[in-house]
Amino acid sequence: MDTTDIAASGRSFSKGLGFRKSLMTLAASVMLATSAQAATPSTAEVNTTGLAVTDDTVTVGILHSITGTMAISEIGSVQAEKLAIDQINASGGVLGRQIDFVQEDGASDWPTFAEKSRKLLRQDNVAAIFGAWTSASRKAVLPVMEQYNGMLYYPTFYEGLEQSPNVVYTGQEATQQILASLNWAAETKGAKSFYLLGSDYIWPRTSNKIARKHIEDKLGLKVSGEEYYPLGHTQFNSVINKIKLKKPDVIFASVVGGSNVAFYKQMKAAGIDFTDEKPLLLTISVTEDEIRGIGGENVDGIYASMKYFQSLENANNKEFVAAFKEAYGDDMVIGDVTQAAYLGPWLWKAAVEKAGSFDIDKIREEFAGIEFKKAPEGYVRIHENHHLWSKTRIGQAQTDGQYKVVFETEELMEPDPFPEGYQ
């Protein structure tokens, strides 16, 4: 099936039927990836732990912030998860059951995340939760997941140092995202010195810690500065001056949220043209989503290290992008996390079907080695540590807000949440 078919059929997405039919054909190809279920097994057989599974439906939870400061980032994940659920339903559901979802709002507040996850597990008995975005919200949800034996599919690239039996991490952990790109900067771009800059919380700090170890110990190069600003900070002129003074070859940036906009606008205004690559800016926090707020002209020429860019050239991704735009509008952009969120329901479906059961404990045993060949990023496989094998890619931002992929690792990077020698 080619993309024009998808596009044409997707127009009736809201009405449902036409889109569904054509998705059925798409689904046929998807189903090949997993073992297709012939008949619908009985509920008593596939659900021994009292999850919300009936003879023809199964209920899952979606838990993201749709209000508050994090809504900016998390909306894309919600959209991707809903899209994946719709597509799975159109292709016949999971073990013959249509997926219903209960959506809860974490309201950008970590205790609310804990409360809502408890509600989803205790009251709604959901079979899986797709959600959480910031590390803080994941940390808040984690004890609840472990206590009530839920399963969280967490989409964001994050700092690692965690490996819970009740979480599947569909984004990259820090070493997957960072190491290859630092090597690339040193080898391809001949970088000798790095300036580490981030927002002041755990993910930038841990990422920079790993980056510093790698730069100093493994590459034998120099870190010329490391700096953190409070979340939401909007004045970066001082650090820009410091950067001008130190003249690093690479600025390694992990600034997040609204601060990003201020940072890149002020860099641009201070006369730094990123296309000159003096200094080169390498970020791990600016996806296509963020560029919409920053403005393509302000980030023209920066490099980002991620596993997914909207511009990836492969058939899976073309289908995914087309379906996403049909569902949510042509002006949508898709960032790394949005794609990772899209993987969640599909990986869950694959695991459920491999286990032949919705039971969390049975699914967990099947995780290692589960593949998703239709992943927009190409191909992913679950490692026994519940993270995904994935490639590291480097893209260069263009004025239209898209990244042009300039580098990708040959092999899938092994997830290593507790990296030896980087502690």
Binding site: T69, D200, H233, V239, K242, K244, A269, G293
Partner: protein, 308 residues
């Protein structure tokens, strides 16, 4: 940290750091002026000040979209139109808010704080419903991007200069309005003694509404200016609110000059410390420093002398 640099390099860095301090200063002035009028002249605490700024920013965003689609030839000048529109939109909403809400609360200043906080929640969610939860990118005309090359190392950002000019013109304009016009005289009369002002025939309710609208309008212009240096999203306004209040309180609430002096002091302290310390610590120390001085001079730097 200065080893291995020539003295001319150091000079340029210091010059640019001075400029960084000045642009922070102009940002503070822009944020605080609208609030000074409302808080200082009327005693009303407008917690929705940040949201009014963002309204100005969204107005700019819409204007830029309009010019791009319908008047691409005039795009270079859209910003001036946007600033005027931002002022008008925010002032109109401000007048409405004053009429619906604030005028009932003049004798209860602490309650204005709660009510306007509620207003800010509503405005934020309204932005989220209308413009989406994501930040919007406001495109700037080409001439506003980039920097003046003064020497090899010293580059002054054009939009920084532009913000500075806006801040100064508004400050001067406001000064003239408050101290050299009939309207300003009436405002000051109402501030100093409301019953007497009413007794000599000043329409104090009208003055209040105009003042509140003026303050909100200035917030709108500030918001328009901030699209050049910051983000425009539903909750971006909150990032400014604590700083803004501190600037106003530190300056002495009823004094325009005080606000400007305090904006200068805080911005210089912060940008100097940011250069030598990490960003987070600089922020903490600046806030502590301001709190400390406020404990010594609770009425701010330049307060009206009142008997207590």
């Amino acid at each position: 940290m200065f080893d291995g640099y020539t003295s001319s390099e150091l000079m340029s860095i210091f010059a640019m750091q001075g400029f960084a301090g000045l642009s922070l200063f102009s940002v503070f002035v822009l944020m605080a002026l609208g609030l000074t009028i409302i808080f200082g002249q009327m005693g009303v605490i407008n917690m929705a000040h940040g949201e009014f700024m963002i309204l100005g920013a969204y107005t700019t965003y819409l204007t830029s979209g309009f010019f791009q689609s319908y008047l691409p030839g005039l795009f270079g000048g859209y910003f001036f139109v946007a600033m005027i529109l931002a002022f008008l939109v925010c002032a109109a909403l401000g007048a409405l808010v004053e009429w619906l809400m604030i005028r009932h609360l003049y004798h209860r200043p602490l309650d204005t704080l709660l009510a306007t906080w509620g207003l800010s929640l509503i405005m934020q969610q309204a932005y989220r419903s209308i413009f989406g939860a994501r930040e919007v990118g406001v495109e700037l005309p080409e001439w506003m991007l980039g920097a003046f090359q003064v020497t090899d190392l010293v580059e002054l950002p054009i939009n920084g200069l532009f913000v500075m000019i806006i801040a100064l013109s508004i400050a001067v304009g406001l000064y003239l309005l408050m101290y050299r016009s009939g309207y300003g005289k009436k405002v000051r009369a109402v501030v100093q003694n409301r019953p007497m002002a009413e007794a000599v025939g000043i329409n104090s309710a009208g003055i209040d509404r105009a003042t509140f609208a003026l303050g909100c309008g200035i917030a709108g212009v500030a918001g328009a200016a901030f699209t050049m240096i910051g983000s425009t999203g539903p909750s971006s306004g909150q990032a400014y609110i604590v700083d803004t209040f501190l600037v106003v309180v530190f300056g002495g609430a009823q004094s325009l000059i005080g606000t400007i002096v305090s904006a200068f002091g805080i911005s210089q302290a912060q940008s100097t410390m940011e250069f030598f310390l990490s960003g987070s610590m600089a922020k903490v120390l600046t806030l502590l420093f301001v709190i400390g001085i406020l404990m010594l001079r609770p009425e701010g730097l330049m307060a009206l002398k009142v008997r207590r």
